[in-house]
Homo-oligomer: 321 residues x 2
Amino acid sequence: MSAALRLGRGGEFDRLRRIFARLGRTGQSLGDDCALIRVGRTWLAVSIDLSLEDVHFRTAWLSFADIGWRSVAAALSDLAADGAEPIGVVVSLGVPGKGRGRGKGEGDPAAEIMAGVGAAARRVGAHVLGGDLVRSDRYLVDVCVLGWTVRPVRRHGARPGDGVWVTGALGGAQLALQALAAGRRPPPGLFRRFARPVPRIAAGRRLAALGARAMIDVSDGLAADAAHLAAASGIRVEIAVEQVPRFRSVPGHVAVASGEEFELLVALPPRFTDRDARSFRVATRVPLTRIGRCVRGSGVRLTDHGRAIAAPKGFDHFPAG
Amino acid sequence: MSAALRLGRGGEFDRLRRIFARLGRTGQSLGDDCALIRVGRTWLAVSIDLSLEDVHFRTAWLSFADIGWRSVAAALSDLAADGAEPIGVVVSLGVPGKGRGRGKGEGDPAAEIMAGVGAAARRVGAHVLGGDLVRSDRYLVDVCVLGWTVRPVRRHGARPGDGVWVTGALGGAQLALQALAAGRRPPPGLFRRFARPVPRIAAGRRLAALGARAMIDVSDGLAADAAHLAAASGIRVEIAVEQVPRFRSVPGHVAVASGEEFELLVALPPRFTDRDARSFRVATRVPLTRIGRCVRGSGVRLTDHGRAIAAPKGFDHFPAG
């Protein structure tokens, strides 16, 4: 049995270590995306992801259905990072008494949130298994996801020489967030990317089958998540920022800092080539781009056309070597 | 696959039906304690239970470790009601920034809560598998429990002629709550009952093995939970209030209304006798008392020495037939 605890942003790391130290032997595998439970020849993967109003979302920016979708997508993204196939989700909802924040044409917020939850789950073949509903001051959506995986991919398997790859394109989430924070509605494609991210379930399963050594979803930002992977694997990750695929008009330093992208960062063995990446794209319709490599050492080294650049903000609470 | 949604108190029932109607076929088994997922010859049971500050607990009344314990016990009680053996728990914590409400001699609230979580899990052989930690205005503990059961007991299997039984003694939770609300510290035994309830895992598994037809944990109050069981089974439950085992000085009408007791209400076939209940007590150290029976009809009928009495408050939003 292997435990998992998400790492909150902003210096929570020591705190979590202290917490898990209290729990004795269950804390061994701290920091993976999913907890794993052996069941015969396969593994049950479990993860939980809490989304709070005004911390993770604002009702002024997203419909209730979007809030439900996004909360579930964030949790399912942890399954994707383990190469797991979803079974279903259980969801706790906290909803204010009067349905505060209801927009035009929206019904009962709890029902709208659950409609988004159900749609996001169905999108990747998962079921809504159950839930709990409580009155609260602010909206909250807590999603526990369950999945199966025959060959779980963890954060700790990367080796020197492995290539470092990323799915999709980065920076869209940050770009949408900046627009919303400035009171502008992002263009439809960008808004959809932010409000309705599609977890990379099929891509994650295929990468597991292709021999992925270590994998993590991009939730804290590419540089920060690369640091998690580097620390777990005991290697250094080198990333060439100019090679990081990104949304149009997104600068490199934004692409490596943008959180909640829900793309996959993966270490693949040296034999995996650009040609394999093209086959991967044909099969999954998801781009896969080589952005760097694993070397001996620790932490993350970012370069822009060969010149070292500083890690993005919010990144300094991780050991970057 | 079978879904489960907890029924909040206070007229949430219609709301939940509306929500689950949005989710299509997953809503079929609405209202059971756990969702069930078939795995080979056994079932994976899953349930989630959200505890919020000032809704489910107050930091003035309970230590942070008590809050963690109680939140986990409430969730594990759902496994007990399905006759399941716990695997483990995943927990989302919301914690205010400054550790507000910290008592004398208490450390980091998040660590204290997780210590209570771990202790409650260990008490019944479960592990803490993972979690999420987020800063929030108020404390919150959301617990998802996982368990195995070969023969799940649901709410819907009771038949006319079955006996209705309850484990333990009722009313203690309400009594403790009344004392705390009045600013008094309850006597140690009563306080422990309130702060550190022990989920009836072993009792639930044994009742399943003994042929339990339908089972539910007493979380909304005996009368309300009997109504859930009656509605799911399509029968009427008759309860003789004077036979309900209760804490010293607890009146009958309090014993049938007291929520969060985490005892088990179970329908057992007519062949199950008081002698079987004595054997059960020897094996589990948990009293089991016959308090009524299942008959044709619907709803719940409460009597006191043969005279019909009214259902307790908070009970009127269920179909009492």
